[in-house]
């Protein structure tokens, strides 16, 4: 069952004719060099950037889904956020329940899942970049949306929190949600269910990483030579 479908999606100058079917319950990595269109693709998929007529969620064309309902279907996390106003961490995370009548459900669990319980009362405009990124992830998590679209969620995180977020995403996928996120670490990408490779605004390849991330593709797309070798491997204790 396809939860997210992009059909021949073109955003002038940023994305060219991308078609993509993401199966429900999968953990999908979006990789590609800088400027290849990863953020644009995620924003179009989230319904934030036009064209919305190329996008459908669970078989429903995006244009036919009312705004409020969209907030319950999909959650999008921006690459970075600057907060002008000093809302507390807890109140920003609670905003994720806007489309659910601000019922406040799951806020404590989301705070705990992103290791923010101790920061709950802090104003968000006094957080570090990595802490802000975790607040945005917690807000996306608390929506309970079955489609999670995260733009480089690991970029600002320390190794421990980055691993926790990957484990969290794996858990979400295991419970039937779908997580699509962009990343640059190809070693992490190698451990996901599916990988989409963007190159020069086009979808170059999409499939299981073991098949897709071949040395020849990595050389062509990223200009790096790949080989397996013993090195530093990190995992949660």
């Amino acid at each position: 069952m396809t939860i997210l479908r992009l059909a021949e999606t073109t955003v002038p100058g940023r994305l060219e004719s991308v078609s993509l079917d993401v199966p429900r319950g999968s953990l999908v990595g979006l990789v590609g060099p800088n400027g290849s269109g990863k953020s644009t693709l995620l924003q179009v998929a989230a319904g934030i950037l036009p064209p919305s007529e190329c996008v459908s969620w669970e078989g429903r064309p995006l244009g036919g889904i009312p705004m409020l309902e969209r907030g319950r279907c999909a959650a999008w996390v921006p690459q970075e956020a600057l907060f002008e106003f000093g809302f507390s961490v807890r109140s920003v995370v609670a905003q994720g329940r806007f489309a659910n009548g601000d019922d406040g459900r799951g806020v404590d669990e989301a705070l705990a899942a992103l290791d923010l319980t101790g920061l709950a009362a802090r104003p968000v405009n006094r957080l570090s970049g990595g802490e802000r990124a975790r607040v945005l992830l917690a807000r996306a998590l608390v929506t309970g949306a079955p489609l999670q679209l995260w733009d480089e969620p690991l970029a600002a995180l320390d190794p421990r929190h980055a691993l926790e977020v990957v484990v969290l995403a794996r858990g979400l996928a295991g419970r039937g949600s779908t997580v699509v996120f962009s990343l640059h670490d190809l070693r992490v990408a190698h451990r996901l269910d599916l990988v989409a490779v963007l190159h020069e605004r086009r979808l170059r390849a999409f499939g299981p990483p073991a098949e897709i991330l071949s040395p020849s593709l990595l050389l062509e797309v990223f200009g790096v030579r790949a080989h397996e070798a013993p090195g530093l491997n990190l995992e949660l204790p």
């Binding site: 921006p78 809302f87 806007f98």
Partner: protein
């Protein structure tokens, strides 16, 4: 945290009580001092002289002042959420300078003296004209920076129009004085007609009331808000329309009154936090109280113009408040 929560809970009742006290003080003070008892007698029309003073002279002035204060503050709050910047003020998109230009031209051409309605109407036409021009010039997406730049340009243009009229127009002395008076803002000689012109402010305030929550989300990012289920395009349109109506009407009945829209929401946000569901009612009441207090001070100081007092009282108070922050 507990303390901040208690402050924010007590803020609305406290400001409301302050507003009632200020209304009583404003109704009692003036050329002829009235005791609270006399004000009461006048309000109930038990004493003909007190009734005339209260109903014909002071009540319209107080009502106009309250509506102007609430409108400018709420409009400032909306602009600050809209532009995600706590330094935004109601005048950013040319509403105030458009109103000023309209009024100044109307006075200079002598239209203003023909009817009481004419001056406010000219100001309203100027205000809406200016904001529509900014929106049209900025067009595409009408978002952030482009709107601001268009607003800056139009503000400069309209200020030049006003200055041109002031410098080139050699009309009768009274008209020049009238222009200057208008540009400094004031509540002198306000009548029930002015109250009627300002009345839609209450409707706009009522429309703003339920928008506090979506404003919270918008103030942390438009795209983020949209992904959480806010219809951002519609919300932005509604907010801009409300802010424009509020500022245009306030400018129409009281002239240019500066600084209120910047500091009242700012101070209240520092005091109770950024939750717009709290801030919308607080800015309406707080703004009304602030302008009434400034008007009382101005009258006690021998008739200083309101626009002078709001800055003269507001700026030091703001600086003192900033210094007290942790």
């Amino acid at each position: 945290m507990m303390r901040a929560d208690r402050i924010s809970r007590a803020a609305l009742p406290a400001l409301s009580i302050l507003l009632v006290v200020l209304v009583a003080a404003a109704l009692g003070s003036g050329d002829m001092h009235l005791s609270p008892f006399q004000v009461w007698e006048g309000l109930l029309r038990r004493d003909p002289l007190d009734a005339t003073i209260v109903w014909q002279i002071r009540l319209p002035r107080v009502l106009v002042g309250m509506m102007v204060g609430g409108a400018l503050s709420a409009s400032g709050l909306v602009m600050q959420a809209f532009f995600r910047n706590s330094l935004a003020s109601p005048g950013l998109l040319g509403v105030g300078s458009g109103g000023a230009a309209g009024a100044v031209v109307a006075i200079a051409l002598g239209w203003a003296s023909s009817s009481l309605w004419f001056l406010p109407l000219a100001a309203i036409v100027g205000a809406f004209g200016a904001t529509s021009a900014v929106l049209m010039l900025a067009r595409r997406g009408a978002s952030g920076e482009r709107l601001l730049l268009a607003g800056v340009a139009l503000n400069a243009l309209l200020a030049a129009v006003t200055s041109y009229v002031l410098s080139e127009f050699t009309g009768p002395y009274e008209r020049n004085a009238q222009i200057l008076f208008w540009l400094l803002g004031g509540l002198e000689d306000r009548t029930w007609e002015h109250v009627a012109i300002a009345l839609p402010i209450l409707a706009a305030a009522a429309c703003l009331w339920p928008l506090g929550r979506p404003m919270d989300l918008l103030s942390l990012g438009a795209r983020e808000a949209q992904s959480l289920g806010v219809d951002v395009r519609r919300l932005r349109r509604v907010l801009l329309a409300l802010a424009t109506v509020l500022t245009a009407l306030a400018t129409a009945v009281a002239g240019s009154v500066g600084f209120v829209g910047l500091i009242v929401p700012h101070i209240l946000r520092l005091a109770v936090g950024p939750d717009h569901r709290r801030l919308v009612p607080l800015t309406l009441v707080g703004g009304a109280a602030f302008v009434l207090a400034c008007d009382i001070v101005g009258r006690a100081a021998g008739g200083l113009r309101l626009g002078i007092i709001t800055s003269l009282v507001g700026a030091p108070f703001f600086l003192w408040f900033l210094r007290r922050l942790p």
